[in-house]
């Protein structure tokens, strides 16, 4: 059978007969590995993916876009005398696969031998591939998606007269299946369905326009938020920004809401990642066991979370994954390493090739309002902007918007401000975590209260 026919076949099969697609991708993976060996590779690894999806967006009740996506991909890395070469393609025809192997081999003839290179150690390969309940395929017609997007947007537009414009509501799904194999004989597979909805609304008053959004993202269609709830929340969030002022400049306590606090955990992960450590581009070099956070802080990785966005039995090099703490009693329990960076650092892989899986920041007991009362006077940050995070030094300076808090209550919305500090001192200055954990992402974080940051804004008088 020609590659072309195989490709057409997989599109309908991905939903109805995923096992057949898996077998097909596995056959292709085996072919790639055999070709690589025959071409002179000492070792090789390959990942193959096939996905399809639909995405609709509606704006002011009219259809804006109807999109159909079908994607394939292959990425190959070969090792030869400890030198490596990589090549990738979107074409899974047999001719294209063979060509891609050749290209990877050609690259490996020119790269330099690297003692840290090569596959992960054979004895670390996962033995069993578990199912984490991420596969709930459902083909949804365009019309159904459009109807749902209309419901979302209408609920938002009807919620408040100040919401008078829309950037649109979108509903989409995506079905993806992948196979990873390497020349240790390891073959692993993963598959996942994702259903998403979002809405961006614009509110207006005499002072100007503000936009905000809401969204949901689940692996089961039925688990998505009620359409009206997403629209209404987008409307509420846009309206509450109207009339934004500027807060007093100075050193103030700051609350990061969960979706912004998530960024702080991402920066922690970035600085603890092997690549940044061996490149000496991290403020966490030589920081294992150091007390980064107060004693009460715990952040745990659970690669086996049922329904978890990135759950998998193996990492991107086939290494078996295990639940393990990242921050324990406030101390950095380990780094985030794949085999390569582990070897560079003289450590062992933490099965994090490809990044962290699911991280859980242990929530506190206080709800958001209690956290605001505890802060008494300070800033709630609901959005940060820009790239002002320097992982080499930990220096942190972002644009922000949110709310000013007086007497333990939200007083007014604020914008055009900056918040600054250093990640190390911000981590150490954590005073409390809320109970309002964010469950829509693979990194789940509650609201966080930071003791003190520098807040800057033009004073309202100087306008």
């Amino acid at each position: 059978m020609s590659g072309k026919n195989l490709q057409t076949r997989t599109e309908s099969d991905l939903m109805d007969a995923p096992d057949r697609v898996r077998e097909w991708l596995t056959e292709l993976a085996e072919r790639v590995l055999a070709r690589a060996r025959a071409g002179g590779a000492d070792a090789a690894e390959v990942s193959l993916t096939s996905s399809l999806g639909r995405d609709v967006s509606v704006r002011l009740d009219e259809i804006d876009t109807l999109e159909e996506a079908r994607d394939h991909g292959v990425a190959i890395t070969v090792y030869r005398n400890r030198a490596s070469g990589s090549a990738s393609s979107g074409d899974l025809s047999l001719e294209a696969l063979d060509r891609t192997v050749e290209q990877a081999l050609a690259i490996a003839r020119h790269t330099q031998p690297d003692p840290a290179g090569g596959l992960a150690d054979a004895d670390r390969m996962a033995r069993e591939i578990d199912d984490f309940d991420l596969w709930h395929p459902k083909s949804i017609e365009m019309e159904t998606l459009v109807d749902r997007a209309r419901l979302i947007e209408q609920a938002g537009l009807n919620h408040d007269p100040r919401v008078d414009n829309s950037e649109g509501a979108s509903v989409s799904f995506d079905v993806a299946l992948g196979v990873y194999a390497n020349s240790h004989g390891f073959v692993g597979h993963g598959r996942q369905t994702r259903f998403s909805q979002s809405c961006v609304l614009v509110a207006q008053d005499k002072d100007g326009m503000q936009r905000d959004w809401d969204w949901d993202d689940r692996c089961r269609f039925e688990a998505l938020a009620d359409p009206a709830a997403t629209g209404v929340r987008a409307a509420e969030r846009a309206v509450r920004r109207l009339g934004a002022r500027r807060p007093p400049s100075g050193k103030w306590p700051v609350i990061y809401i969960p979706e912004v606090a998530l960024g702080l955990v991402r920066h922690l992960v970035g600085a603890a990642s092997g690549g940044n450590l061996y490149r000496r581009s991290s403020f966490l070099i030589d920081s294992i066991d150091s007390q980064l956070f107060p004693e009460w802080v715990s952040i745990t990785e659970d690669p086996h979370l049922i329904g978890g966005g990135r759950s998998s039995s193996f990492d991107d090099e086939g290494v078996v994954t295990r639940p393990s703490p990242l921050i324990e009693h406030g101390r950095l329990a380990r780094y985030v390493l794949g085999s390569y960076s582990a070897r560079k650092l003289g450590l062992e892989t933490t099965a994090n090739a490809g990044g962290v899986r699911n991280l859980l920041f242990a929530p506190g007991t206080a709800d958001f309002d209690a956290l605001v009362r505890q802060m008494d006077r300070g800033l709630v940050v609901t959005e940060v902007m820009g790239q002002g995070v320097n992982l080499v030094t930990g220096d942190y300076s972002r644009g922000a918007s949110g709310f000013w808090v007086e007497n333990g209550r939200i007083a007014y919305p604020v914008e055009e401000i900056t918040v600054a500090g250093n990640l190390r001192s911000m981590f150490a200055a954590l005073e409390a975590a809320g109970s309002d954990i964010e469950t829509r992402r693979n990194i789940q974080v509650p609201s966080l209260l930071i003791g003190q940051m520098t807040v800057a804004a033009q004073s309202d008088q100087s306008d």
Binding site: A69, D71, A104, H110, Q112, A457
Partner: protein, 476 residues
């Protein structure tokens, strides 16, 4: 260009003029106002050096066809990651799903788009042997390390791209382009007394790889990265507050991209959600300010002989003598607003829809020397270089992040300060420009602009500028 692009893309798949016409006619069979086919093939080669060795290299080929059908302002879109007649038919069938909303249109007679090529069509990947590229990285590494013993890490990366596109549309457009793109980046870490700082520099464009192989070029990048890292070792905490900010020439033009450019993209105006909506002709800057978006500069990173809808690129004036003068448009938004496309319809790839996007956005020079501008500041900061930026086009608030900055006191640069975020409001930031320098520079060719999840290469530029009031996000 069209001929070469056709040879690379369509002929191997046995697709000729009649197959394209058939597919376009099929699109128009529904109630569709406009449709187009976008064929693309892109080869990328990358090499990177770290810790003294060229440890990785990669090669990729991506090709496919995107099919779009527009009815009213609704778009049906599908793509195939293979170029052959069957895939084309299937994608066209899916894209036509939008059809019921439009009016039956007629297929226009093909009119090949001809325009002057702004760059050479040869493949930069083939311009030099792999051994030469690997040797370049090693030479740059050794050179950067030789500049100062405090340099402890050097990363060098080289990227070459060769892209061919063909666009065929129901309005008669038939156009092709062959686009080279090369880039060299140097990143260093300097360490001293337990302190660590980084420095970055690099550049590229739609030109031959041989330009980057010239020692004058890569030595400049290496020196610049080392200088920035060493300078940052001495940097003191940045001030916090609202103050006078002098922006250096070149890449700091990212200010214009964020504060002004995005807000003048046609889609945001059609939807009425830009902070500049309904303000055409109004004064939003001091009268000696003129800002253009110009896709026609030869060999620049943001330049395009034709955009991704086949429209020849142009020099579009966005702000003329302080007044809002023009928008950047693609075909869909131009048609919906009764305007002309401006050569700004761009897409990341065949798998993405075109959007109005910037090309090279810059401010024309004024009359002051940069020395005069700095000398005029009693107390403030001088921001010489930046990372990227971001904007909320509806509220107009934008940020950009300094990577090299100085404290100015008494008209002099007194000390380097740590990088900090600057935040302002697009519609009024340019009303606060006190002086415009005579030293217009374009950036070295490193910009990537993101919008709706799509990245495209862009350029920015400006002369030295004094802004009499921006909020600086330091800690002191």
């Amino acid at each position: 260009m069209l001929q070469q692009a056709t040879q690379e893309l369509l002929e191997p798949a046995g697709l000729g003029s009649s197959e394209l016409d058939h597919a376009l006619a099929g699109l128009m069979r529904g109630q569709v106002d406009f449709g187009d086919l976008y064929f693309q093939r892109r080869q990328n080669e990358g090499w990177s050096l770290e810790d003294g060795i060229v440890r990785s290299g990669s090669f990729s080929i991506d090709q496919g066809v995107g099919v779009r059908a527009i009815a009213g302002t609704g778009t049906g879109f599908a793509y195939a990651d293979a170029i052959h007649a069957e895939a084309l038919e299937q994608a066209a069938g899916s894209a036509r799903a939008i059809a019921s909303a439009g009016t039956a249109g007629a297929l226009a007679v093909k009119m090949p788009v001809s325009t002057a090529a702004l760059y050479r069509a040869d493949n930069p990947i083939e311009a030099a042997d792999a051994t030469v590229k690997v040797e370049l990285l090693r030479t740059v590494d050794a050179f950067a390390r030789s500049l100062d013993p405090r340099i402890t890490q050097v990363n060098v990366s080289l990227a070459c791209q060769h892209e061919s596109i063909v666009v065929a549309a129901t309005d008669g457009t038939l156009a092709g382009d062959v686009r080279p793109l090369v880039r060299l980046d140097v990143r260093v870490i300097a360490e001293q007394g337990g302190r660590r700082e980084s420095g970055n520099a690099g550049g590229g464009g739609r030109y031959s790889l041989l330009t980057l192989l010239d020692p004058e070029c890569w030595q400049k990048f290496a020196r610049e990265a080392v200088r920035e890292a060493l300078l940052n070792l001495e940097a003191v905490d940045a001030p916090a507050g609202f103050m006078t900010v002098v922006l250096g020439p070149g890449w700091p033009g990212v200010l214009l991209h964020e504060a002004i450019g995005h807000g003048l993209e046609g889609d945001f105006h059609r939807k009425g959600i830009s902070a500049f909506s309904g303000r055409m002709g109004e004064r939003i800057a001091t009268e000696y300010i003129t800002v253009v978006d110009d896709g026609t500069l030869p060999e620049r990173r943001g330049s395009l002989s034709i955009d991704d809808e086949g429209t020849p690129s142009q020099r579009n004036v966005l702000i003329e003598n302080g007044r809002l003068a023009g928008l950047m448009q693609d075909k869909l938004n131009a048609r919906a607003m009764g305007m002309q496309p401006t050569g700004n319809g761009r897409r990341e790839s065949f798998a993405h829809l075109p959007l109005p996007r910037m090309t090279n956005t810059y401010m024309l020079p004024g009359e002051y020397s940069p020395e005069e501008i700095i000398a005029s500041v009693e107390d403030g900061i001088y921001a010489a270089n930046f990372k990227g930026g971001q904007v909320d086009i509806t509220s107009g608030k934008f940020v950009f992040v300094a990577s090299e900055a100085w404290r100015i006191q008494g008209g002099k640069l007194i000390a380097p300060i740590k990088g900090a975020t600057l935040i302002g409001n697009g519609p009024d930031v340019l009303t606060r420009v006190g002086m415009v320098g005579n030293d217009l520079e374009l950036d070295t060719g490193v910009g990537v602009c993101g919008k709706d999840g799509q990245g495209v290469p862009v350029g920015v530029g400006q002369p030295t500028l004094r802004i009499d009031g921006l909020t600086v996000g330091g800690t002191q």
